[in-house]
Symmetry: C2
Subunit: 442 residues, 2 copies
C-alpha cells in the first residue's frame, strides 16, 4: 500500500505546538479512541509522541468504524492545529480527515494506552513486540539510547576510539564455566563473556578505547538482576597510576551521562518517572575489608573473611553511602584477589587484595573495573598460580609480550543502569527483548 | 609499576607543534630507533601519532641500551620541543631524559615501523595484536570509528533512535542454512544473521531506528570479501513510499559519512591512502533486468534469467557506472523475488521483481536494502509460498498483526566499506580480528 496523495508534507506530533492555525498531515498509530457524549477523542501516536484529535462529526470516524478498527491501526490524518490549553501539550487537531493505511481488526494482547501496562511480567515479556510501544516503555529505551550517546560523546572528547571486537572467541575470558558454546565449522567456539581481552589488546593500538556491544553470560541464575545477554559499555585505557585513575574517569563519564539525560531527555525522564542521581564531584569509596567491618558494626552480621559481597551487603552499603554522604553511588575498592580474574592487578601494599573496584548505584553493583596486570611475566605467573596453561591465551598474551603500559578500565551494565535509574523491580523490564534461562523470544 | 614522578603533566604527540620551546613529558612505545653517525633518532609512538626524538648524547640512550631493549618497549620521555622544518610534523624533541616503563627484550613477530608490513596475510593476521599497532593499520580502524560516529550522528539528526537487539535468537532470520547454533541451557539457539526482524519490530515503537553491531554468517565460503562475523550498520524506518525513499536516505547517510571523514580524518585518510568517493546528489540506478541486458550488450555474456548477479557482473556494472556517470556508486534495483528473503516487498507492477536494491561501491555490493512487507496477511502468504510454518516466527509476526506502516531499510557492511575505501585486496585486512572458516584467533 502506498501513502495517500496529499499536498501536505508530513508533520510530527512534537512539532504541533509550533504549528497552531495550520493544516497538517500526521501519520501514526491509533493509540486510543474515547467517546465523550457526542465528541470523540482520537489519540494518534507517532514515533515521537502523541496528539489528540477531536472528532466532533461522527462521519469523520467512518474510516475507522467501517471495519470496526482497533487500536494500533496505522492511519494518516489531515487536520487543523488548534491551541487548546486543556489538551495535552496545549494543542489538539480539529476537523480531521482520516485515511487508514494498515487496518487492525483484532484487540491487542496487552493494553498499551493506559498509564501503566496492567499485565503480569511473563505476559508483558511475551508480548514485548507490542508492549514496547507503550509510551513509558519506549521512553525508557530512548533513555537507553541517550545513555549510549552520552557515553560515546564524553569518551570521544577525551581522545578515546570506538572499537567493535569479535564475539566469537576461541576461549572463555572471565571463567570457564559460564560461557555459551557455539558450533563453529565443526570446531568449538564460545560467545564472548566480555570484550575484556580485546579491549586490553587495543590499548596497545589506540591507548584509549571503548566499546558498546552485547556480552553473553551462561549463568544459570534466575534473579531479578541477571540476564544472559546484555549490553556492556566498556572502557579501557593506558598510562594510569592505579585503579583510582580509572574511578576518576568513570565518575566523570557518569556525570556526563546523567547531565545529558537531564538536558536532552526531560520528556522521557518524566514519562518513565526516572529519578536522575546527583553524581558527587568525588564519589565516596570504602575498602572491601572496611566495608565488611562496617556491616558487622552496623548490622551485627559478620561477613568478614567472605571473598565477595552479597546482594544484602551491597544494599546495606548503599544505604550507608546515602546516609553518610548523601550519595547514590559508592565505590568499594580492593576486592580480594582470590575472587577476581587472573588479569587483575594486586594492591602492591597488600597483595591479597586487588587494585579493583565495584561501583554500587543505589545498592546494586552497576560497574566493575580496576587496574590490570601489564607485564608479560606477571601474566605467566598469574596463570600458573591459577593452574591454567598460557597456551589458550597466547594471542591475548602477545599484547603483553610486546609492550603494554599500566592500564585499566571498567564495564557498565546498560540494562542495570536503566533498572536502578527507574527503580524497576526486575532487569527484564529494562531490557528490550530479554534473554534468560527460559526465554529466547521475542 | 607506577609512572615516574615528574613535575610535568603528559603531552601528546599531536600537540607538539603547539608546544615549541617548552619542556614536555611524552609517554608511549619505542616505535623505532635509528642511528645515523653519532646521532640517534628515536621515534616514540603514542595513541595518536609519533614524535621524533633526537639523541645527540649516547649516554641519554643508556636506559634502552642497558637491557638491549627492543621496539615496543614502553617509555616516558622528558625533553624540549624544537621547531625543525625537516622533521616529520615540523618539530622534534631534543635533550631527552628516557625512563623505561615496560622493557621489551624480544624482537617483534612482524615489523611495524616500516611504511608497509612486509608479511604474508596469515602471518599478519596471526599477529594482528601487534600488527594493528602499525600507524597505517590503526589509522584504518580509526576511520572505521569515524564511519560509525558519522552514521549515528546523521541518523540522530533525522530523528532515528539507536537500538541494541538480541544476538541470541530462537530461529534463523535470513535463511536456515548459514546460521551458527548455540547450546542454550540445553536448548538450541542461534546467532542472529542480522538484526532484521528486530529492527522491523522496532519501527512499531520508534518509527526510525538504527543499530551498529555484530552479525554472524555461517557461510562456508573462503572468498576475499566474506568473513563470518562482521559489523553491520543497520537502518529501518516507517512511512516510506517505496524502496526509492530508502535509497534516498542511504545516499544522504553515505554523503554524510564521507564528508565527515574528509573533514575530521584527513591524517588517517593520508596514512591509509584511502580514496574518498564523491557521492552524487542522486546516485544512478539501474533495474536488475536492464543490468543483465547491459552486461549482454557490453560484454556478450548472457546472464539474463539468472536470479542474482555474480561478482564479475558487479564489477562490470561498477565500471559502467564510472564510465557513464563518473560515479563510484550504482544502485541495482528490483532483484527477482525468488532470491530475496520472504519479508521482501514485491514490485506492485511486476511482482516477480522486488522493491529491493543493492548498492555497488566500486563494483562490489556494499549495501542491501529495500521495502518490506508490512501487512500481516502478506507475511502469512509469503511464508506459505516459501513452504515455511509461521509458528517459529510468531513473535516477529506479532508486529505486523498489530499494525505496521509501509517501511524499509538497509544494512551497510562496515569492513567491506573500509575495504573498498582503501582498495584493500581482502576484507580480512580491514577487519580488526577477522573470523573465517579456519580463524578464531586472535
Amino acid at each position: 500500500m502506498s501513502l495517500p496523495a496529499t499536498a501536505l508534507t508530513r508533520s510530527y506530533t512534537h512539532e504541533l505546538p509550533h504549528l497552531t492555525g495550520e493544516r497538517v498531515l500526521l501519520q501514526g498509530w491509533v493509540h486510543a479512541l474515547r467517546k465523550l457524549g457526542g465528541v470523540s477523542f482520537l489519540i494518534l501516536r507517532d514515533g515521537w509522541g502523541t496528539a489528540q484529535i477531536i472528532v466532533e462529526n461522527e462521519a469523520q470516524l467512518a474510516p475507522l468504524q467501517e471495519g470496526n478498527l482497533m487500536p494500533e491501526s496505522v492511519i494518516s490524518i489531515e487536520g487543523e492545529v488548534r491551541a487548546t490549553p486543556q489538551a495535552p501539550g496545549g494543542v489538539e487537531i480539529g476537523d480531521p480527515t482520516i485515511t487508514v493505511l494498515t487496518p487492525i481488526a483484532e484487540p491487542l494482547p496487552v493494553v498499551i494506552s493506559k498509564r501503566e501496562i496492567n499485565a503480569a511480567l511473563p505476559t508483558l515479556l511475551d508480548h514485548a513486540v507490542v508492549a514496547n510501544r507503550h509510551p513509558a516503555r519506549r521512553a525508557l529505551f530512548r533513555l537507553g539510547a541517550g545513555v549510549m550517546a552520552a557515553f560515546r560523546s564524553h569518551l570521544n572528547e577525551r581522545g578515546f576510539t570506538e572499537i567493535q571486537t569479535p564475539k566469537l572467541v576461541a576461549s572463555a575470558t572471565e571463567s570457564g564455566a559460564n560461557v555459551f558454546g557455539v558450533d563453529y565449522f565443526g570446531r568449538r567456539a564460545y560467545l564472548a563473556q566480555s570484550p575484556q581481552f580485546y579491549k586490553q589488546v587495543m590499548v596497545g593500538v589506540f591507548e584509549r578505547v571503548f566499546e558498546v556491544g552485547p556480552v553473553f553470560r551462561a549463568e544459570p541464575h534466575d534473579t531479578i538482576r541477571h540476564i544472559n545477554e546484555y549490553v556492556s559499555l566498556d572502557v579501557e585505557f593506558g598510562f594510569i597510576e592505579d585503579h583510582f585513575t580509572v574511578m576518576s574517569l568513570l565518575r566523570d563519564i557518569l556525570a556526563g551521562i546523567f547531565n545529558h539525560l537531564q538536558e536532552q531527555y526531560a520528556p522521557e525522564v518524566a514519562l518513565t518517572t526516572a529519578t536522575l542521581p546527583h553524581v558527587p564531584a568525588t564519589i565516596p569509596y570504602i575498602h572491601f575489608s572496611e566495608a565488611q567491618e562496617l556491616i558487622f558494626a552496623r548490622h551485627g552480621v559478620d561477613v568478614r573473611g567472605e571473598p565477595d559481597l552479597s546482594p544484602q551487603d551491597e544494599r546495606w552499603l548503599g544505604e550507608w553511602a546515602r546516609q553518610e554522604y548523601g550519595s547514590d553511588f559508592l565505590f568499594v575498592t580492593g576486592y580480594p584477589m582470590q575472587k577476581r580474574p587472573f588479569y587483575t592487578h594486586p594492591d602492591p601494599a597488600r597483595p591479597t587484595y586487588s587494585n579493583s573496584f565495584d561501583l554500587l548505584f543505589r545498592g546494586i553493583e552497576l560497574v566493575t573495573g580496576g587496574q590490570r596486570l601489564h607485564r608479560y611475566d606477571d601474566y605467566l605467573e598469574a596463570l600458573a598460580r591459577a593452574g591454567q596453561s598460557p597456551e589458550p591465551f597466547a594471542a591475548y598474551l602477545e599484547a603483553f609480550r610486546y609492550g603494554m603500559p599500566p592500564h585499566g578500565g571498567f564495564a557498565i551494565g546498560m540494562e542495570r543502569l536503566l533498572m536502578q535509574l527507574t527503580g524497576a523491580p526486575n532487569v527484564r523490564l529494562t531490557t528490550l527483548f530479554p534473554r534468560d534461562l527460559t526465554r529466547l523470544t521475542p
